[in-house]
Symmetry: C2
Subunit: 260 residues, 2 copies
DNA sequence: AAAGTTCTGGTCGACAAGACCCTAACCTGC
DNA sequence: GCAGGTTAGGGTCTTGTCGACCAGAACTTT
């Protein structure tokens, strides 16, 4: 709520402090940070930028910037993503947290809203920009502390990983990691890398193709890798990738639902 | 991130706008709103307050207020909850979203961070305060539009409901709805009301008591209701209520996990 | 041609979840 | 005190899902 119920300066209830006067609100800076995740070399990577100014000069950080007064938070995140990568992919942007500890920025009071973006390999994009101040780093290096980040960005990245693991289960975000067409092995690698699990290839195939609207065979086949092997079928994402995955809370038939 | 990599006023990359100067950031008001949910008369209710001032004077709204510069967002939410209900229950406070559309408050640019709080029946607390400006209303009345809310609070409540449904599955938030001791029928009613489903009493019992650390029998029995019936055992919440419920993503044995 | 690698389909068993039954323990009303 | 109603608690059976494992297909390199 924006103002409490009583007049300004008057305690609204017994024992509680007086309201703030809405015309004299405490000002904050509001920023939007975007954790950009992608698969690279079979593991999960994040796009980080190197800070050119104090504080935390020279350290790695999540890309982000100030929210502008005329835009929504989602628009600000979309703009920041486009500025960093050139990718216009609003559908893959998910807000997952707000951070406002008083001492998180030593200069001033900053509240930041964090977004998660999942892209297919952005290696070429990153290489195209100034390679000195943007790089893909394995998230494991961030989580273990091998690379340490500016501000409270470690906490934000941790929360982002947590979120993408949940998203992977309840939405079809997995296809965002792979290209327009993909093999089931590629898709399975996404689940295995994000969840850090080992999945049986045959069972995975069955689960995915059984759920209809998820993957659509293209009829074409992928070229086998250097090691040879039978060529895999190429699939593309279906239309049901945002309606919940093969692993769901409710039973398949939905018989437990009573109304709406 | 708080500042981009390049110097102020200098485009950081080809084709992207110049950075904002961090010393001339656009100021925002930051508020914290708390959606307080509770079970009342077998259905899900929310605590709303009636606005005493313009804009939206006289309409229902979520309780909330300005974040203070020296407190964290979590502390601000905890303070707002205490001011409204007198309850000190930080463990049940969950942040679930930030809202910053430019036109969401007609007076000024306000970014609000929304929290979800789950309490056992607060009817007595609400009655103790000025009943004219705070009330428990069924969430169904809010969602159907029977009661309409100030600002974008309808959207916030909708998101809160969405969130509590997920929380109910992955955490032990269900016990927050009931008292310190409870019958399994009471607990089951929480799931049924929040998820809007019908659960078999026998199967529910088995699932809950099989998972250890969830409910602990007290040995005592509840008094049957007015209609009679066999008296139910009283349970209290175990210690595992925040480690994931009987319904989980990973199989019980956790055999699929490979490392950590 | 042989061996290796990967994909794809099949089968089997373990286990969880739901449907449905019956009994136990209390109430109210007569 | 007894009959009938109501709710709790326990048992069983069926069904479906998921993982483990095996075998064949299709391609590679040597």
């Amino acid at each position: 709520m924006e103002t409490k119920t009583s007049g300004a300066g008057v305690p609204s209830r017994a024992g509680v402090p007086a309201d703030y006067d809405p015309s004299r609100f405490p000002p904050f800076a509001v920023t939007v940070d975007v954790v950009i995740l992608t698969m690279s070399e079979g593991t999960l990577h994040a796009l980080l930028v190197r800070r050119g100014e104090a504080p935390f000069q020279g350290m790695w950080a999540i890309p982000g910037g100030f929210k502008r007064p005329a835009e929504t938070l989602d628009e600000a995140a979309k703009r920041e993503l486009a500025e960093e990568t050139g990718v216009d992919a609003a559908s893959l942007l998910t807000q997952f947290g707000a951070y406002g500890d008083p001492e998180r920025d030593p200069r001033m009071n900053v509240v930041t809203v964090a977004y998660l973006a999942v892209l297919r390999d952005v290696g070429a994009i990153v290489a195209g920009t100034d390679a000195a101040d943007a790089a893909l780093v394995p998230v494991s290096d961030v989580l273990t502390g091998t690379i340490d980040l500016a501000f409270d960005h470690l906490r934000i990245v941790r929360d982002a990983i947590q979120r993408v693991r949940v998203e992977l289960e309840v939405t079809g975000i997995a296809t965002a990691f792979v290209g327009a067409t993909f093999t089931l092995a590629e898709l399975r690698a996404v689940y295995e890398a994000v969840w850090n699990v080992q999945l049986d290839a045959a069972n995975f195939r069955r689960s995915v193709v059984a759920e209809d609207g998820w993957v659509i065979p293209t009829g074409r086949r992928a070229r086998p890798g250097a090691a040879g092997g039978r060529p895999a079928e190429l699939y593309r994402a279906g239309r049901a990738w945002n309606h919940g995955g093969p692993i769901r809370r409710l039973p398949r038939n939905g018989k437990r639902e009573v109304q709406a």
